[in-house]
Symmetry: C2
Subunit: 201 residues, 2 copies
């Protein structure tokens, strides 16, 4: 299976971790956005947005990191990264969509304002955009904190795709200076995840 | 099956349409956010964010609209709202996550700035937030336009959960003054969707 990735991307890390947990070997093609490698025609033909990650599995091209992680988990059901019963699977998708809708876009916005603007000489962070992102996160992050206060993983006792996807999102949140100090259960969960061999890069 | 909804919510509309397409009868409990009904303890116990929609299916409580629509589609596979093969299902999830990550949050932001602020006396739209949302949409919406230029539905020939979920998101986009004039294939697709009996409310 081929993976086009950018080594520092949190979204690509989700796919690399899932593959390691499942024992799927990836042929990595790392792209350098500073050289415009993600906008070359041969890549845009596979992923029209020029985003990463993209996988190709025996001719099937797939992008959107959460969709890739679910697809990989379903290839090896015996590894139990995704609950097999309909309600369990719906619960996993609930948390993946929760992260994709409410957490990921706001982390991405903080990254844009606090990290990429500075790196690209785009001026200081826009205070209105930072405040709006922080306000949204203040509404949603406590929901995960509450979820993890009484159980080790997002779905309960068992480690799953939800931990891989949300764990990488919260790891990225920390890197864009989102303050996790008020969320001890989330911090303890991230430490548990990072202790897993598949999380060490 | 019970549905807690807000009649004007685009996210709730996704669930109502999916249920009608599938012939699932919903017992609707409509909440009025202006009376704080979505923040009452008995509702927050089901959905900790006080958001809608939430369903309850024989004791199983589920929220996040896209996860609900997939759950409903999987209950009645013979109705074929979700491709049955692994690659087809991954393709559907790809487009659902694409909408949840890149389109929905920006439409929601435009709604916040252009509609809700005015309604709640919150002042004029913040130009930086509007510009950032429009810029993101300008990057992502053409990808769907390209997808629909050569095929009637998001996944190809067949109508699916991806049309229900993304169709409602783009319907909401129009309502928050997102200009669809440059996207004739998306406009034609929305007209086709709205001609379906299940889309008429």
């Amino acid at each position: 299976m081929k993976l086009w990735d950018v080594p520092v991307s949190g979204n690509c890390k989700k796919v690399r971790i899932a593959a390691r947990e499942l024992g799927i070997e990836l042929e990595r093609m790392s792209l350098d956005p500073s050289k415009g490698e993600n906008q070359r025609p041969e890549y845009v033909e596979k992923n029209p947005m020029g985003k990463v990650p993209t996988i190709e599995d025996d001719g099937f091209v797939l992008w959107e990191s959460a969709a890739i992680v679910v697809y990989l988990a379903k290839k090896l059901p015996a590894k139990r990264l995704l609950p097999a019963d309909p309600r369990g699977e719906a619960d996993a998708l609930r948390w993946l969509f929760w992260g994709a809708s409410h957490v990921g876009p706001n982390v991405q916005r903080l990254g844009q304002e606090r990290v990429y603007k500075a790196r690209l000489g785009g001026g200081p962070p826009d205070p209105a955009i930072v405040a709006a992102a922080e306000k949204e996160l203040a509404r949603f992050v406590p929901v995960l904190e509450q979820q993890l206060a009484s159980q080790p993983h997002v779905l309960g006792r068992d480690y799953s795709v939800a931990d891989i996807v949300l764990g990488c999102t919260f790891d990225s949140a920390r890197m864009v200076q989102y303050d996790l100090a008020p969320f001890p259960a989330i911090r303890a969960w991230l430490e548990r995840l990072q202790a897993r061999p598949a999380w060490r890069e």
